[in-house]
Subunit: 239 residues, 6 copies
Amino acid sequence: MKIKVVNPNTSRAMTAAIGRAACAVAGPGVEVLATCPAMGPASIESHYDEALSVPGLLAEIAADRADGYVIACFGDPGLDAARELADGPVAGIAEAAMRTAAYLGGGFSVVTTLNRTTGRAWDLARRYGLAGFCRGVTACDVPVLEVEAAVDTVVAACRAAVRADRSDVVVLGCAGMTEQREEIERRVGVPVVDGVQAAVLQVESLVRMGLRTSAAGEFAAPPPKPYTGLLERFAVGVN
Amino acid sequence: MKIKVVNPNTSRAMTAAIGRAACAVAGPGVEVLATCPAMGPASIESHYDEALSVPGLLAEIAADRADGYVIACFGDPGLDAARELADGPVAGIAEAAMRTAAYLGGGFSVVTTLNRTTGRAWDLARRYGLAGFCRGVTACDVPVLEVEAAVDTVVAACRAAVRADRSDVVVLGCAGMTEQREEIERRVGVPVVDGVQAAVLQVESLVRMGLRTSAAGEFAAPPPKPYTGLLERFAVGVN
Amino acid sequence: MKIKVVNPNTSRAMTAAIGRAACAVAGPGVEVLATCPAMGPASIESHYDEALSVPGLLAEIAADRADGYVIACFGDPGLDAARELADGPVAGIAEAAMRTAAYLGGGFSVVTTLNRTTGRAWDLARRYGLAGFCRGVTACDVPVLEVEAAVDTVVAACRAAVRADRSDVVVLGCAGMTEQREEIERRVGVPVVDGVQAAVLQVESLVRMGLRTSAAGEFAAPPPKPYTGLLERFAVGVN
Amino acid sequence: MKIKVVNPNTSRAMTAAIGRAACAVAGPGVEVLATCPAMGPASIESHYDEALSVPGLLAEIAADRADGYVIACFGDPGLDAARELADGPVAGIAEAAMRTAAYLGGGFSVVTTLNRTTGRAWDLARRYGLAGFCRGVTACDVPVLEVEAAVDTVVAACRAAVRADRSDVVVLGCAGMTEQREEIERRVGVPVVDGVQAAVLQVESLVRMGLRTSAAGEFAAPPPKPYTGLLERFAVGVN
Amino acid sequence: MKIKVVNPNTSRAMTAAIGRAACAVAGPGVEVLATCPAMGPASIESHYDEALSVPGLLAEIAADRADGYVIACFGDPGLDAARELADGPVAGIAEAAMRTAAYLGGGFSVVTTLNRTTGRAWDLARRYGLAGFCRGVTACDVPVLEVEAAVDTVVAACRAAVRADRSDVVVLGCAGMTEQREEIERRVGVPVVDGVQAAVLQVESLVRMGLRTSAAGEFAAPPPKPYTGLLERFAVGVN
Amino acid sequence: MKIKVVNPNTSRAMTAAIGRAACAVAGPGVEVLATCPAMGPASIESHYDEALSVPGLLAEIAADRADGYVIACFGDPGLDAARELADGPVAGIAEAAMRTAAYLGGGFSVVTTLNRTTGRAWDLARRYGLAGFCRGVTACDVPVLEVEAAVDTVVAACRAAVRADRSDVVVLGCAGMTEQREEIERRVGVPVVDGVQAAVLQVESLVRMGLRTSAAGEFAAPPPKPYTGLLERFAVGVN
């Protein structure tokens, strides 16, 4: 089984860390391929960055076939489009992290990077039906590419969030925190969920059950049509 | 006052029709500029098309300054990103059409093009807080670029929807129907809302009140950062 | 085009201020007629006042024909009844202010007059589907008829609300604040929405699009019937 | 203990029927006083009628003191205002009927009079938090003042609603059906809740527990102020 | 009329107090029978205790026929099962307390015993459709069997909750507080609802109206079937 | 890794089938132990059966330590209590099936056994935040212990549900259907999710990530206390 984990920003260091965290939990016989796009933003810290990470992300998903796919950015950019495009099941890390957290306690706190991203986290919690489990979204005010080195700040934000939100689980709100999960959990004292690992295992589980995105409704393959300009090569089913 | 109406697909005929419909309602002294991107899909009929229409759409919004902006596709692609990027207020046509419809009756039916787009319409209704007003979403099973010529089919779908949903207002679920609004309303017998017109007037109203997107929170200008590859020119605030 | 703005309390000074604020934004060729009822409470500060403002308000709406109507009290008293009665579209200022605010940011704070009115604001936010956008309702503890002169108190309440609610837009919760909008916005530093202006422009937009309340459902003209006693003259369609 | 049941329309026959139904269930020692206003609409079949029934209703509530009050119209007109005004607890019949039905099954159907009133029933279900229990609202298309004599039509509508909605309880959506409750229940075969009886017993229960509307928040007595014109006598706390 | 009030824990002292509080409000001619199970936990302070209180509770309900039943623990354990089993109507005290509180103010605070039970209170508020009325759930950190003697602590918690939650009604979150209701109300200054009394009166009201749980849907009598082991005697309709 | 799958009814044949289905998907090195209680109902077809299955289920969970636990009945009986009691993570099959289905399409249909269980399925969908994804719950009217042999009936019910609900995924609403998943999926033509397999893989994933139920809040180990009568041996932490 091959699972492709696409980090939608272009940071190779972060992609490597994501790959290591994914491999650490993937089952025997599961090959994890962590990649990042050839085009797009260096990090995703705005709706603008998120929107513009999608073409590169979709190119990665189309690039070569895997059994399942993970989108490794907590905004879950391009998730619906990826589901239409991909051969196998697709999970976003916000989706997987929040759904996983709901198995573990009465309510979770999301701890994210910049304050401006808290709105997106709430939007996703609502969209996935998890607003009733999400007791708060807190930013630790560290840019995405610096969060890996800022574990003390993240731990402090987690502790404050758990207390303020009266939550009993933490969800890490950025793929950049993935390798710190264990340390953060040990220091904060409640279960801490990392979306990269949760999503990889979710996709592995779907593949093992023989399940993939339904082709019977809204996520059927996109209808073929011409694309022009810079994005011409993205045309599907046309040649 | 200048309002830019961006049709995110690349059909010039549809863009021209959108421009005519917008001009027909814009106030005296309001200049409407209807444009479409130089890159992207010929029409938007999937999440995939929608995602890939966004770079071209954002390039149009960045291209030259207006007082306000309209995104003229019923999926409201790139709306959050456009709000961060634009100098003035931005409205999507689904957002404007559904909010406008809520002033006019007890509940509305959305009538859209292909069946696969009904999920997106429901997502937007929920996101904008209008799920309680939206009594149904019906597809008339006509592709986007053919809908303008299929007014009989649209009228039949509207009539059926109003009866089945027990609604008293219709929302047109595609910018391609904009010039048929009056005829459809006359033949269906309930108020029919077109999002292009609703959004243009909403933006005009915001500009007249001196209101624009808040820069104090999630829609502040995107933080500058490097972009690579095909999308390098999209980097904001870096040179 | 003639738009009638009915202030449902009987204060002529407040009615005049409402009229000035409405005229300041109405489009060229739009005549704004600001009126108040001949009967009812001097100000609206309770459900009781609100309920008893409605007969006078409805009499104003029936009095002489306009193209559209605004109900200029933040409780939106009599809105459903007015929709049945009026020839043209009707908007309430709470409805228009809150829907307008949703175009401008991630979430808004309502700042109102007396603490006892906060419940009504929440009820309306829920009813209009905007509870997900409304992050808080704060009273500045100033009676309705004194609020115009208490701009410093209002500004302080707005600043506190934005901070406490983590919101990025303010909605003014009383028609008495309408002429202070600009000053408040300038001093608070986030977009500030006044419902009087928002509702006038909303009604103007509806009229320009040729849209009016649906007669096909719950807002059809009220069925004729006898009325007795003090309210005899309110009988509709009976003579 | 004295409970005042105010029928907000001016039909004496209907008021008498309401009084008989209320007496049939009130506890020993409970005096039921069924009244109707001296002013207002002959029946309530629109938002307009409902709004204009409120002054007469409030005058009845203020008229002479009771231990508790019932508003006997399924739109619950003036309920919030009555709570501010009354010395004792107040219940509306829609509120009481729907809350009572929630004790009795998995979900209820409301069967009401005219089709145009179904929107109001849904609004109330949502407002009282009962939208999850309300599986449908059906009109039997009989005017309010004729519904008492149309028991066959009501029974047929109830049977159809239970089947279509997959519900196991019926809520009668008009005070005019109150004396037919038992017959309807016998013929339909599921529990049938009448709001008049439910509200009278609810108020009796509140009084027996020593509970009344909180004066600590939104339902405190209305602040005194001048009223002018036709409604001058409604001024509270001013003389 | 005979109403059986089952305290699902095995404390005889608490059962007696519950019986006294119930008798104090029951109508003339209503016999209240307060009982507790022969098996199960000494008090209910966890989901585990709650689940294991149910067999004893159901045995009490099956034991000898009454006209209606009350489950006197704020977690409403076994409520759905009891509805299937019982001949007459059944009410839980959380259900009755929260629904009763909704008649009395703008929003209530629940004050409960141990912190770990707050999640269950929120779950029930959501399930009964009362999340919009419930403004907070606060624990006073006193075990169930000690709460009767800790009235000062409860009063302090109520006062703090009303202030923090901006609520105007208190709901007592444990049957052990039932005899302190009046004192707490007097000292806190807002209406205080006790579920034992509210549920007894609710059941009395249902019986007086001739209403009982619907047998037409999900609460029909359980289908007969074999039970084995310790619980063999619980088999219904099998002999 | 050892995962215990507890079938809460006492059917050994059904337990064996559940065990086979679980083993078919569990990862290499995962030992699945499928058990059923020594006491309780032969099948679970009512709230009554469900409530009385819980003591036996909890005894199984306490019996001997595993790394994680699955409750293999679609009502998820005793889930909260099991989470307090168990050393490792616990998943219910309704919870896991519905959350899994949300990764696969726009909306799912639940197909269950007896009609009376549809209410419970909706309750769980709401509780888990999945009401927005659940488009319908349909019963195929086959008792639990006969459903394994009634695959044609189940397939017909699935096809009808997908059409009526406009869904694109099916959730099997009974553990008794687990071995038919593949056949049903092949014949119905949309992804079909079985909760037994979904829950086993979910628990396996949680264990692999080192995650277990939070002990910091509502699911901490139950406080020790005396139990009496038949259930005396269930006392925790007392000896």
